[in-house]
Amino acid sequence: MLEIKELTTKVNEKSILNGVNLNIKAGEVHAIMGPNGSGKSTLANVLSGKDGYEISGSIKFNGENLTEVSIEERAQKGIFLAFQYPLEIPGVNTNNFLKTSLNTVRKARGEKELDTLTFLKLVKEKCLELGVDEKFLSRQLNVGFSGGEKKKNEILQMKLLEPKLSVLDETDSGLDIDALRIVADGVNSSKTKNNAFLIITHYQRLLDYIKPDFVHVLSKGRIVKTGNSELAQELEKSGYANL
């Protein structure tokens, strides 16, 4: 599904990623761990298409070269980024935002746009599945949401948009155990053999709930080690210093 070859990125002449290679197949869950400043969030941003990076190497998504594809087209093609710090957008009603987003993506996929009632039914179902209060929908997008609520909102969006590849950028940071479980359940219940997940995290904690097929360690802009879920436990004990 996703093939990254020799990906390097620079911001203002400063190298951040120094040749990342990564293959993700449908049905797989990958985790990327690594110390602060190793380039984890940069990788997530680059996958989403964020401007401001000088890029070389290749990123292919289902065989298509992504480097020239705009942010919104990537989303329409099925790449989803759950933000580490979801933006607060005053004045934008959460429900309207979700509907606009879903209908734009559906339209791009050649599906019929949902009318208000059908959408409302769907979004309420998803809220129930996630254990998220419906009241949430009538509020302004992320405004005054707690850290946990913001992350739950990201997962709700993920569930609605049904992306092929979901990139979760430190979705676990700042979450209490209950919120962590909701996020993990959201991911686990969305897993199919046709989609894939890339979970970026500092800690092994989230991986107790979402079992990854592969764990990669990113350090100084390279993947220095790849293993199975046991690698995450090892890292938790020994830290990143020995790598």
């Binding site: 989403s48 298409g49 964020k50 401007d51 705009s70 942010i71 919104e72 990537r74 989303a75 329409q76 989803f80 980024l81 933000f83 979801p86 933006l87 957008i89 005053p90 004045g91 934008v92 935002f97 606009t100 987003s101 734009t104 993506v105 791009a108 302004q140 969006q157 948009l161």
Partner: protein
């Protein structure tokens, strides 16, 4: 420009000799000063004289008698209505109210004190030539059941014409009214509407006033509102005049009783070289009163807007709580927003704050929305709407709020 100054004041019907004299005097004052220009501090952001010279070849004073015109009324909510055509009161309908409690008539010089107040040259001009407008008085303890919509309709024969009229609104003790001024016109050519409105809000009374522009318009709109607030009264004015080529709303508000509350809010979307301004003079003359002003403008394509907000706090007006904020969102670099806050405070135990920001749309917000499949253009539209809807959202009457939002959508997207 050839200003048709020879227009005869004597042509105005049913006025006394004394009134003719006073009007002639006002006209003299206007002629001495001319239209306001940049040299005046209060007009430093707006050279109205130049704007008028650039847009009008000549200027005639309107004396067009009322036209019989059927106007399409708002269907979104039940309401009472009065209709003004080219500034003249044409019809009224108070079917949701007990009419005994309402006095409505064409504006006459009923209140002597309104006359001849020479505040600026536009008001002098208004004093000299005003015809039409309405007088509205609500009895003590009467609370309107439904809102009142004032339809300001202008016909298509107003080319190079100036319409001067006056309104007067009096709310007696403990009365209550939601008033929507809804401007509509079918004029394809430039005209000026110069209005002076006098508002008196007595003890415990509440007036919520909404100025809404219902269509794109070639009108150059000037409105001066003089209001007086008595003890424990409430006055809220909302300005949604996007669509006008030029507008300037001036408010001179005297808070004359304790525990009164005053709100002025505006949300404007300016497009295609339009120019809009709000200027307020909020005079806190008694203790324990609150005022709140919030101005939000979005500017696109060579537009200009300004907010001049003055808060005056008299020495005895302790415990005043006055707030003002203006925010502008500039969608390109061809537009200009000016803010001039002024605080003049003579009391020592008050809370007064002011702030002003202007900037472009937040790129991080655009990025976030784009990662959800939304195009850059739609993201900017969404954020523009969100920026302005904050003001609409603060309207407590849901029907009016929805109507304002629908209008804003039209003002932003042109449909």
């Amino acid at each position: 420009m050839n200003q048709n100054y020879e227009f005869n004041i004597e042509n105005i019907k049913n006025i006394s000799l004394e009134e003719i004299k006073s009007r002639q005097n006002s006209f003299k004052l206007f002629k001495e000063k001319g239209f306001p220009n940049k040299r005046l501090e209060e007009w430093k952001f707006t050279d109205l004289n130049k704007i008028i010279n650039d847009n009008f070849k000549e200027l005639n004073f309107n004396n067009v008698e009322k036209e019989n015109k059927n106007i399409e009324l708002i269907k979104d909510f039940e309401h009472n209505s009065i209709v003004l055509v080219n500034g003249f009161l044409k019809s009224k309908n108070f079917k949701y109210e007990n009419e005994e409690n309402i006095i409505i008539s064409e504006y006459k010089n009923i209140q002597k004190k309104d006359k001849n107040e020479s505040i600026n040259s536009l008001i002098d001009l208004n004093n000299a030539f005003f015809v039409g407008g309405f007088f509205l008085e609500i009895s003590r303890d009467y609370k309107f059941d439904r809102p009142l919509v004032v339809y300001n309709y202008f016909s298509n024969n107003l080319k190079d014409t100036i319409v001067n009229n006056k309104n007067s609104i009096i709310l007696n003790e403990n009365s209550n009214l939601d008033l929507i001024e809804y401007n509509l016109d079918i004029s394809k050519s430039n005209f000026i509407h110069n209005n002076y409105t006098n508002i008196t809000i007595s003890k415990n009374a509440s007036l919520k006033n909404y100025a809404i522009q219902g269509c794109k318009s070639s009108c150059f709109y000037y409105k001066f509102i003089k209001s007086k607030l008595d003890t424990n009264s409430n006055y809220e004015d909302y300005i949604f005049l996007s669509g006008l080529k030029f507008s300037r709303t001036e408010e001179d508000i005297d808070i004359e009783g304790e525990h009164a509350n005053c709100v002025v809010q505006s949300a404007l979307f300016l497009d295609l070289e339009s120019h809009q301004e709000v200027k307020t003079n909020l005079n806190h003359l008694k203790p324990n009163c609150k005022s709140y002003q919030k101005i939000k403008n979005v500017l696109n394509k060579k537009c200009k807007s300004a907010y001049q907000g003055k808060i005056f706090v008299k020495d005895i007006a302790q415990k005043t709580d006055a707030y003002q904020l203006s925010k502008a969102l500039l969608l390109d670099d061809s537009s200009e927003f000016n803010a001039k806050p002024e605080l003049e405070i003579y009391a020592d135990d008050v809370k007064c704050s002011h702030g002003s920001t202007s900037g472009s749309v937040n790129e991080d917000s655009i990025y976030y929305l784009m990662t959800r499949g939304i195009s850059r253009k739609n993201a900017i539209d969404l954020l523009t709407k969100a920026f302005l809807f904050e003001i609409a959202n603060s309207i407590s009457n849901v029907e009016i709020k929805n109507f304002v939002e629908k209008n804003m959508d039209r003002q932003i997207y042109g449909h």
